[in-house]
Amino acid sequence: MTFLETTLLVIAIYITLVLVRVILGPTIWDRLLGLNAISAKIIMSIVILSIITQQSYLLDVALVYALLGFISTVLIARFIEKKGDIS
């Protein structure tokens, strides 16, 4: 097992730990916070995977997530803040 594969494993363990917080979290904002954290960690894992397999076109997926990933968080947060009125 090389160093980068170990890093990927550690990040996977972090994702499961954050998932426990998402499932337990008393309020909906805790769950949104977990969604945000998991999305950052998934971007890291995609970059590691592209370095391990030496295929740089995998980075495009990470770029798409970096550009679009915040939209769902912002939409759900606004939805709760306006009590069901998105505009």
């Binding site: 972090y14 916070l33 945000n36 950052a40 890291m44 740089s56 912002v74 606004r78």
Partner: protein, 100 residues
């Protein structure tokens, strides 16, 4: 030699992120959780990305990773701000008192 530096940076970032995960479980109040964990993410993300750039040398992949880092640095505060603002405007209580 230069690889060792990258490995060191990645290890430091992993320790940072571990502390962020600990902070998620240690704090009892939502506002302190959002202050600690989402922001430790920033430091960990920056460090681990610099490690990857050093590891992949001077190539197009390194520039793409830099581009990804720039985009995340622009969009990450937006979502954190949206969550905190949503909780605050909905009237969620702020723990002002000093607790042991």
């Amino acid at each position: 030699m230069i690889d060792l530096l990258a490995y060191l940076l990645i290890t430091i970032a992993l320790i940072f992120m571990a502390l962020g995960v600990v902070g998620l479980f240690r704090f009892k109040d939502f506002y302190s959780r959002i202050l600690i964990s989402a922001k430790i993410e920033t430091v960990g993300f920056l460090t681990i990305m610099i490690g990857f750039v050093i590891l992949s040398g001077f190539s197009y992949a390194a520039m793409k990773i830099l581009l990804i880092t720039l985009m995340v640095m622009i969009t990450n505060p937006l979502s954190t701000h949206a969550i905190a603002r949503s909780a605050f405007l909905s009237g969620y209580a702020i723990n002002q008192g000093s607790r042991p």
